[in-house]
Amino acid sequence: MPNGEFNQFKQFCESWLDILNRSAAIFGSVNPCEPPTEAARQIRSAVFKSMAEQVDKFMRSETFLQGMKQSLDTALEFQKQCQSVLTEVRHSTQGVATADVNATMMMLRQIESRLIDRLDDLDANVRQLSQRLDQMEAGKDKAGSPT
């Protein structure tokens, strides 16, 4: 049920039916004379497998994805407000806030990327020039060489 609405009741029933089916299959092979340690392990493993499949379905459902989106949005809003309050407090005491450091770093990044771009251009030009020189020299050698 990718990205569909998660029907809790249906999934709950499906999950338990699946667990019961898997357990019943294992119970059939149990020897009553022996303690059912291995059977218990197999049943536990079957239960976990079934649970894992259900959880995977749930985590792909619209319900989970919307919940995840809401919790992230809330966390981001909360963090934004905290940062805004802290920035105001720091500014009111003539201190430096994280936002100021980020803004300065952003400016430096812009300057850096402009410089790198220019250097890249220069590098490309120098390569082009040296290629042309090589070609010219090769041409001269060809012209000068006795045939």
């Binding site: 990718p2 990205n3 009553p32 004379c33 022996e34 303690p35 340690t37 536990r44 976990f48 649970m51 894992a52 959880v55 995977d56 985590m59 792909r60 994805l65 919307q66 995840m68 989106k69 992230l72 949005d73 981001l76 963090q79 934004k80 940062q83 994280t98 450091v101 980020n102 770093m105 952003m106 990044r109 990327s113 790198i116 771009d117 890249d120």
Partner: protein
Amino acid sequence: MSASINGHCASVNWSSRLFDESLLNIRRMARLPFVWQHAQRVRKGATPSEVVYEYGRHRLRRYPTDRPLRFRTPVLFVFALVNRPYILDLKPGKSVVEHFVRAGFDTYLIDWAIPTDADRFQTLDDYINGAILNIVDYLRERCEVPQVNVLGYCMGGTMSAMFTALHQQLVKNLILLAAGIDFSGDESLLQAWTKPDYFNVDGLVDVFGNVPPQYLQSAFMLLKPIQNLLEKPIGLWERLDDAKFVDDFLTMETWLQDNVPVPGEVFREFVKYLYQENRLVKGQMPVGRHTVRLGDITCPVLNIMARKDDLVPCSQSLPFNDLVSSTDRKTMQLDAGHIGLAVGSRAQSHIWPAAADWLGNRSDPALAEQPRTG
């Protein structure tokens, strides 16, 4: 009469087993403090290494050995930015690095170190056309070779593929290990979670800067919650008296919990351009002023992937070989998970010896046998 004997026999069996189990549990309980002590002493990295080059915070580690070099072309390991790289050299017998060192390669690994808030504006361009390019240039100069072998794991594999596409002339052979290339499918939960309708990557990076390790850790844990929260601890409890199992478990867990923050801008680019827009396969992946076209890759390519990988499923890695222009390309698949591909016993016995052979057949032989520590 027979039924009564059977019943008696069963009840004796049951009570004896119950008694044994109780004793075993008491023994396990008594071992817990030692396990805790052991967990504090887990060693990170097995093969001795030395830092030979530093570029900003990034370090280039070399694995020296007394064995003579068999190949002139060095091999460079590029790891992801999410965890620490010592998973490639976890412990003796579970080390990818060890295989290549033993095979006679001059082996290097990039340690990205732990990003700080100052790295929040670092982009893929800074890593690919900055750090990796510088390190490769250093290696070419150091080893006096025109090209190097590159092996990238996970996100490091994706970055290695981009690097090779942009600088093909510098790469002799490329090995990708569980590298995400085609993000169009819906197989991995991460693909479902990062859809633009549900995941505000811009908001996350703008507010937090670097992506906190706890956030990534919980996302990875949620990929398999039943396995991580129930099966794993129960498995440990049941095998608490198996010293080797406990040692392996603690070594692995130490690495799994050793998450580092991911530089914000890199995370934004990775999620937006790859997970959300799948630009790499479309030939539209921007890295700085350049655009990555996988078709520019012409060197031999070995693409290794795990069939049970929940982080980077095979469907994300497989298309790579069809997108490159290389004529010499090979795929290896293993029945393992994302981490098992590096440290699993089947990977150690099958994949890595074969990968070292593959690389050896395509690397320049050493000019004269000389110890690499020289």
